[in-house]
Assembly symmetry: C2
Homo-oligomer: 209 residues x 2
Amino acid sequence: MDELPTRDRLVFAAMKLFGEKGYLSTSVQDILREAGANAGSLYHFFPTKQDVLVAVLDMYREGIEPMLLAPAWEGVDDPIERIFALLASYRRALEISDCLYGCPIGSIALELHEPDPPVRELLSVNFHQWVGHVERCLIEAGERLPADLDRRQTAILVLNVMEGGVMQSRTHRTLDAFDASVAGLRDYLDRLEQAASAGRNNAAGGHDG
Amino acid sequence: MDELPTRDRLVFAAMKLFGEKGYLSTSVQDILREAGANAGSLYHFFPTKQDVLVAVLDMYREGIEPMLLAPAWEGVDDPIERIFALLASYRRALEISDCLYGCPIGSIALELHEPDPPVRELLSVNFHQWVGHVERCLIEAGERLPADLDRRQTAILVLNVMEGGVMQSRTHRTLDAFDASVAGLRDYLDRLEQAASAGRNNAAGGHDG
DNA sequence: TCGGCGCTTGAACGTCCATTCAAGCCATGC
DNA sequence: GCATGGCTTGAATGGACGTTCAAGCGCCGA
């Protein structure tokens, strides 16, 4: 029963608590209790509480691929379905936590109104990465989507759907809003696929304006 | 120069500060300083700080029509353009505050992970109202949109676009994400209008499946 | 003129918070 | 066997926080 090193226990404890209660509502004592450590240990590794947050955000950044995308995309090859599989993994988190646990990055982003530069930058990087992965799915969908579709713009919209769905579901304590958000996105992507398909047929028929 | 009554000054001060720095980061002292009042006065009107928040959320609930929608919709009659006019008013708030001030309801909703029932309910009501107004626009758009379109679902998506756009823009400190979100929504609604128009033409031509 | 009352004053209170620190532990290298 | 240095211990510190309260002010009806 080899315990993790103290530093890691602290970061994991903080990650859990920041996600559950938010950054401001989590005290250093909370982290220490959860990690089974003492104040001196924490301050041996981290100058301030904010540096713990930075370490947590760093871990999210590194973990997005192996911890979030890989499990969500297991057995899902279709690039468009991967987007909905990703959204489904957030739905699951909401479901098993009674609509309490959503996206920790989003919570922290809205909780800290004027975050210090290192924190803001890491939040920004995390969003960029997430959007980048969704954008790649949309690019991989190739000509199934309209050729002139701005795929980064659409990826940003997907992040909105997730974050907005989480926000509303947590507030209403029902999954309805999340499901409605995803259904709205599904309708949009369906229509994009139809338009692309129609566009290809027209092109094949030599029709132009 | 008749000052407002103390209770109102307190609520307005709290509204301003909660919007700027969030609920948890705003101290009672901050509110007192901003309102020019003393602790005893605040606690004469409100049992706790949380009751000030309740009063603020109540004021938002009452103010959504006269303070938010009316100015945003001045001179805009088209129901679909009203949706974009509403989004534009949030964009303006982001713009003049250097991407700091977004939607206070959304911030508080994510900041308080387990809000006490009265607070959660008021957040919920505020969201419902907002979605309801957008839904009414979509209903007023009538047959310009597909007959089978779920207009509440679409209204929820519009709220996502706003909240998600605000969240990303505040994090990146650029309006790009907000603009991309709105552009994505515009593309979706354009396609819905096209589909409805095509549907009407088919129906007029007596075409069926 | 006076009493009552809504409201104000601002110091004081206890709690909790992030952070510090002197002391100690223990594995390692000598 | 001993010194070194990374890590731990947990009590202490000072400040900020939400909240309380005894005292006072000033308006108004009697």
